[in-house]
Symmetry: C2
Subunit: 453 residues, 2 copies
């Protein structure tokens, strides 16, 4: 590890220019769920990259163009992954400033995509500019940059794209989108993502709703679904689906050490959200959040949901579930286990409907050299010890990068706990943008030097 660098380069001009890029990017309403302004935004990003010497290729995606840019030369290659699409701005009335106008208040920059993911894109581009300037106009390493416009709709093109374009994307490490700075100013790096499988369980007992007096002689679909849900986990949150844990890989010594060093035990989350029923506190908190596979009930419906009572026997009902998976669990195998379990429970009539494409878990060991390079660069840029999370509790399309390209992925970004990602008043802290540029400079120059720590 290095201590904070007193000879830190002066990045002020690059930061100002990066914030102007961010303002222009936020103004483009690239809402992928609604197909808004996606080719325009792809074209704008292309022009920004070309101005820095990148060769940019645009490929058709299912929803929006996929961009692959390349610049620089050297013994090392860094792959960067970002996206130029954003979540819808609804509900607009809750925004305190227009969602597509980057607005600064009290040290924060507000706007849709300010954090997720245009702030990261702009700060990384500013870092590339600074490194070129500091190296006589050339990049001392090869940078490959994959920027998609479909991340907020589940990256439907990405897995196949990565497989088909593996040669264009090979690298020594991948700087993944997202990552954050914690309230104490420590950068938080994530070394992986959980997999996810989203399903809906459905049960129907009749063609139409019935008077509940008939519940004496006709089965109840919500009871059957409740029994299915109750059979999937225990009160401690451990999944009880038979065979579910067979493929779970034990964490390495480096992973366990990293988890033990994560500060706090979730009290801030519990305070922020008024949590009354934690499943894990103390040392178990980060262990479960990073490494425990879980099943979540996301919602349910069926029968009467209004005020007061209605003595109805519902004809049908549904439950939405997500399974968050860890290495080496395979969503397709878990789906098969779920079907077999329901059948074994006498719940053959409970239908399983897959709601979206599976995502495989993916993660890199904390001892990997690219992880060490990122940790060292973060320490240098932030002047604080990085927090290393072996995995985010969330999910994303990291698996094809890790498995097809064989590349280590580390998420290091400029989010903050009050960043309201996906919600009204999305924001970043201006100082975090500045630190993000510094981190990019440190990481690129460190990789160019061939130094991992």
């Amino acid at each position: 590890m290095t201590s904070p660098d007193p000879t830190r380069p002066n990045l002020a001009a690059h930061i100002e220019r990066g914030l102007r890029d961010l303002r222009d990017l936020v103004a483009l309403q690239s809402v992928s769920a609604q197909g808004r302004h996606l080719p325009e935004t792809a074209a704008f990003v292309t022009r920004l990259l070309e101005a820095e010497g990148f060769t940019v290729r645009a490929y058709p995606g299912e929803v929006a163009p996929v961009l692959v840019a390349e610049a620089g030369e050297g013994p090392r290659t860094l792959l960067i992954y970002n996206h130029y699409d954003v979540q819808p701005e609804d509900p607009v009335a809750l925004w305190e400033s227009p969602p597509f106008e980057l607005t600064e208040r009290d040290g924060r920059l507000y706007g849709r995509g300010a954090s997720d993911d245009k702030g990261e894109l702009a700060s990384r581009l500013a870092a590339v500019r600074a490194v070129r300037e500091r190296n006589g106009g050339r990049l001392p390493l090869r940078v490959r940059w994959l920027i998609e416009g479909e991340e907020e709709v589940g990256s439907p093109s990405l897995e196949r794209f990565v497989a088909e374009h593996a040669e264009e994307l090979r690298a020594d490490g991948c700087w993944w989108e997202f990552g954050s700075i914690d309230p104490g100013g420590r950068p938080v790096l994530f070394l992986g993502l959980k997999g996810v499988m989203c399903v809906e369980l459905r049960c129907r007992v009749a063609a139409s709703d019935l008077h509940s007096s008939l519940g004496a002689v006709i089965d109840n679909p919500l009871y059957r679904l409740a029994r299915a849900v109750a059979s999937l986990r225990d009160d401690g949150g451990r999944v009880t689906l038979p065979g579910f844990h067979d493929d779970v890989r034990e964490p390495s010594e480096a992973d366990r050490t990293a988890i033990a060093r994560i500060p706090g035990d979730g009290q801030a989350v519990r305070d922020t959200y008024g949590v009354t029923r934690p499943l894990a506190t103390g040392p178990a908190y980060h262990k479960r959040l990073n490494l425990a596979p879980v099943v979540n009930v996301n919602g349910w419906g069926g029968g009467y949901g209004g005020e007061g009572s209605k003595t109805v026997l519902p004809a049908h009902g549904f439950v939405k579930l997500d399974f968050r998976l860890v290495q080496e669990q395979d969503p397709a195998r878990v789906l098969g286990l779920l079907r077999a379990h329901l059948d074994a429970q006498g719940l053959e009539d409970v239908e399983i409907v897959e709601l979206e494409a599976h995502q495989q878990p993916a993660r890199v060991d904390a001892a990997h050299p690219f992880v060490r390079a990122c940790v060292a660069a973060a320490w240098e840029a932030h002047g604080a010890e990085p927090v290393v999370q072996p995995s985010s509790g969330g999910s994303g399309p990291m698996h094809p990068f890790r498995e097809v390209l064989g590349v280590a992925c580390v998420a290091a970004g400029i989010g903050n706990v009050g960043g309201r990602v996906h919600a009204p008043n999305e924001n970043i802290v201006r100082e975090h943008f500045e630190k993000g540029v510094a981190f990019g400079v440190a990481l690129l120059e460190r990789l160019a030097r061939g130094s991992s720590s």
Copy 2:
């Protein structure tokens, strides 16, 4: 039992007049849930009764006047119970003729309240008229008639009213509202009603919804509710709440015989509603429908219920339940058992909210003399063997009549399986109205003679 009477009285003129009364009653939009036209309808019913020599007293109810009418003299007293309020007509667009205009099509009379309960009120009044005419202008028995305007909103005034007016209401038997004619033309009599207790279970784990990645470390309210629901019954539909069955009274020999004589095994219901998961067929069908206490899940909500998936950890959720109870189960005791059971299951945080007033179960033994009189009158009027159901699967405010007044209640009415009660295109079969008048004449004259069979 008697065979059909070949000297049946000519009731044609009374039937026509009764149908005119029904038309006038249907035209009054006495929707108690919306407080529409209740005093006007009470006043109209009062005038109809006074025209037949009744003394009518109107008492204030919580929502609408309660009417108590009395006429006639003799050694026997018959109490009749009806209501003049109706369900809302929504959704109006689904009616094939205006809901408040009695309209005849293909032998059926359509209109809101045509069956529930204005058709019964009008047919009973026509029977009283006929008996008066056939007895020289006097009623040869005392008829007491309780007609409320709050039945469709749960009869909030009735229990106290019956207790406070017991002397005005005492009788040798009570002719209860509702009852039907089956598709084979056999009259169906009900000797009781199940009790009902409606509750909502609620669970909350946080102040606001969270990203489901936090499901690794924060409990899920829908899982907890599912576990509560799954613990309340088994797959055969038997309630598994500890202590629940302690007070269930074994059926008498007469009840068992009556149940064994009920035709069919529910196949018509299963065909009509496309039922795919019956809980009981064959001999078990009527036994469960009449005498089994059950728990129903009426509906549930919480989290995301829209299209596709949303990886949310809901902050809270709810489940609506009704418990259908049989003699001598007490709703208040069952409520206590439910709380104790949830606590014992570690579900102390699952809140129980009572949704409406409890209703106690009530029923009279099939061997009671008043039951025998009703059966004999039904046989005489319909020319077919009555079907005796020891209890409806449904619930209603019969308990105060049975327990406070000590009066046997028998439901004998003119509904039909396609009658769409509470729904658009509510209807009765015209011939059933005619048979209903004949039944009333037979019952009143049989009681006046002091003959029960």
